[in-house]
């Protein structure tokens, strides 16, 4: 067991344990903060896989963006305007059966399948290659994503303006 193995297991433990807390915790703030550690653990995995750019994107998007907004929303609704957020669970049994079946299928598939393997070495840096692939081979997707973000912005503005209009 060398250094990278140890680091891998540390990150794996962080991801799994905080993931379990996220799902099981009744306190929504605990769930949100353990989600932070899940994301962080996944980012660590990416680093170990040699995907440095993706791991930073993982942190900047999930930890810096989504999670902060999530916490922000919870804090504004829950404490500032004192609205209760319901966090109970219903239909536990069907959910357990469904999840167990799905997980069983997934695990058996993952173990039994012979996945395609492409030879390759871990690149030292991925940012440059990623950029040129995005702007050459996947340029349509790149542009489409730009439109997608524009639409998301317009949609968010539209939803935010909904209630204001009524008071006019």
């Amino acid at each position: 067991m060398n250094l990278y193995d140890i680091i891998f297991y540390i990150f794996a433990a962080i991801t799994v344990v905080s993931g379990v807390i996220t799902v099981t915790s009744k306190n929504i703030i605990y769930a949100a903060f353990s989600l932070l550690f899940t994301f962080f653990g996944v980012a660590g995995m990416y680093v170990l896989l040699g995907a440095d750019f993706i791991s930073i994107v993982q942190i900047i998007v999930y930890v810096g963006g989504i999670l902060i907004l999530l916490l922000f929303g919870v804090m504004l609704t829950n404490k500032v305007t004192s609205t209760d957020i319901k966090s109970g669970s219903v239909n536990v049994l069907p959910a357990v059966i469904g999840v167990a079946l799905f997980a069983g299928a997934l695990i058996s598939i993952i173990i039994r399948t012979k996945w395609t393997e492409t030879p390759g070495e871990i690149p030292l840096s991925t940012a440059g290659t990623l950029g040129s692939v995005l702007l050459n081979e996947y340029v349509i997707i790149f542009e489409l994503l730009a439109v997608l973000l524009l639409i998301a912005l317009i949609g968010a503005a539209s939803i935010a303006r909904r209630t204001k209009e009524e008071t006019n």
Binding site: I141, L145, V147, L148, L150, A152, I154, S158, R162, E166
Partner: protein
């Protein structure tokens, strides 16, 4: 192989027109921020240009697969044309829609979001790369979530948006998982590449089946096939009627185009001379599609029987129609494909028409409950007659266009010796007659006053209605041009 820029431009000409117009709509809306007419005209103009570009591009489509992520063939252009026509009608409807006009200030956003949907659907019809398919699907979904909750007058509006969002997020997650499994199996996301791997090497059938079923979940959600249809009634009920009509036609067309392309590119081995598709046996498409189709039409029709809200009724009816169209795909022949294309053209006209009449009535009465239709046949005579025609057409009776759609569908089924399936479909049609006629009963036989007071309809509404009634009747009597056009467009790029 990456094509050069001009090749990309010619492959995606309609998409580029739409994307540019999307930006223009936003800009025009910013410049004239009080007056919403310029934005609307820009939107309509962009669609007309896109329509012209599509028709113009049809004769010169390339039949050679270029291993790039989009193809331009007549099949895709046909569906794009249907989408453009639908969107144009929706814009016409919007001008008349009370719900949208009331949120006057946000109309610019409305057009921009509709354009977002159009762009997503355009790419869905022509994408042959799983990543592009996923992004296009997300673009389509994201715009439609917002549009579903566009007005904020009642709680059901927000309910529709949230339900749509949650179902959509889950199904797109499933689909993404399926895509990742396919990538893991074959090492490529390009559908031609996947086909090549599937036909040259032996892959684990169970894994592939699992992945394909996950992808079917994503597509099935878009076309609201049972058992992925649970969102349909609630979302259709809560959305503004224009958007309900749009979801029921355009986004289904895109979903079907995607399904057809996914099947015909990824799993086809070759097309026989008589138009029968020979699949490469990696996945039993015929069985699963037939099961899905029969389930979809039966559940849709049976649930529609009990509905009191016309929008919910039409929602279930659209589920049922998705079932019929799925049968056309399940035949897996060129004839089946022709029947799907004809059915879609017809379905577009009659379904849009039905929703338009519902909108006109709801504009006057403020509700879509079936009791609001009592005596409409006398108070709004033209709308009543029009709705009758649309409903007869939805049932599939002559002399309306709906009959032609069903006729070709059954022809395709019989051509492939699927007698039992055809019989079940026919039974379903009979069931559907019951609930369509129930609306007619309310319109003409219930609560009829001695001297009915006429409800004024605007001349504009009459014109738009005529634009839909006339073709439904015309193609019911003289359908050759429609058939010819569809047959001309059955030409798609396989490996």
């Amino acid at each position: 192989m990456i094509p050069n820029l001009s090749e990309i431009f010619s492959l995606t000409a309609p998409e580029i027109v739409i994307a540019v117009t999307l930006i223009l709509v936003v800009l025009v809306d910013l410049i004239w921020d009080k007056n919403k007419v310029p934005a609307m005209f820009t939107a309509a103009l962009g669609l007309i240009v896109a329509g012209v570009v599509i028709l113009n591009g049809m004769p010169e489509t390339g039949m050679i697969p270029n291993n790039y992520m989009v193809v331009s063939d007549k099949l895709g252009l046909y569906f794009k044309f249907i989408i453009v026509l639908t969107t144009l009608f929706i814009l016409l409807f919007t001008y008349d829609s009370k719900e949208i006009i009331e949120s006057h200030l946000r109309q610019g956003e409305y057009y921009a979001l509709v354009y977002g949907m159009v762009l997503g659907m355009f790419f869905l019809t022509s994408a042959v790369d799983l990543i592009l398919i996923y992004i296009a699907l997300e673009l389509l979904s994201l715009s439609s979530y917002v549009l579903a909750g566009f007005s904020d007058k009642e709680t059901r509006n927000s309910e529709a948006a949230v339900k749509y969002l949650i179902y959509g997020a889950i199904s797109s997650a499933f689909m993404l998982f399926g895509i990742s499994l396919i990538y893991g199996l074959t090492g490529t996301t390009n559908l031609y590449g996947v086909n090549e791997v599937l036909s040259t090497t032996v892959v684990n059938i169970y894994t592939l089946g699992f992945a394909v079923i996950l992808i079917i979940a994503g597509i099935g959600y878009k076309i609201s096939a049972v058992p992925f249809h649970f969102w349909t009634p609630d979302v259709y009920e809560g959305s503004p009627i224009t958007i309900t009509a749009y979801l029921s036609v355009a986004s289904k067309a895109a979903g079907f185009a995607l399904l057809i392309r996914f099947v015909s590119i990824t799993f086809i081995d070759h097309v026989k001379a008589d138009g029968e598709w020979i699949l490469n046996g990696a996945f039993d498409w015929q069985t699963i599609l037939i099961v899905l189709a029969l389930l979809t039409m039966t559940v849709g029709n049976l649930s529609a029987l009990w509905q009191k809200n016309i929008k919910r009724l039409l929602a279930y009816s659209s589920v049922a129609h998705a079932g019929y169209i799925l049968l056309g795909v399940a035949v897996l022949t060129n004839l089946g494909l022709v029947s799907v294309m004809i059915y879609f053209a017809v379905y577009m006209m009659m379904n849009l028409g039905a929703f338009y009449v519902v909108m006109l009535v709801a504009n006057k009465t403020g509700s879509e409950h079936i009791s609001q239709f009592d005596g409409i046949g006398y108070t709004m005579p033209y709308a009543g007659v029009a709705l009758t025609i649309f409903l007869v057409s939805l049932t599939g009776l002559p002399p309306t266009a709906g009959f032609i759609g069903k006729l070709y569908l059954f022809l395709a089924l019989l051509d492939s010796n699927m007698l039992m399936v055809a019989f079940i479909a026919l039974l379903n049609t009979v069931i559907s007659l019951y609930y369509y006629v129930r609306i007619l009963k309310h319109m003409y036989l219930k609560n009829v006053a001695e001297m009915p007071e006429k409800i004024e309809t605007r001349g504009y509404s009459t014109v738009v209605l005529s634009l839909l009634v006339v073709p439904v009747l015309f193609f019911g009597i003289y359908w050759t041009p429609l058939i010819d056009f569809a047959k001309y467009c059955v030409e798609f790029v396989i490996k």
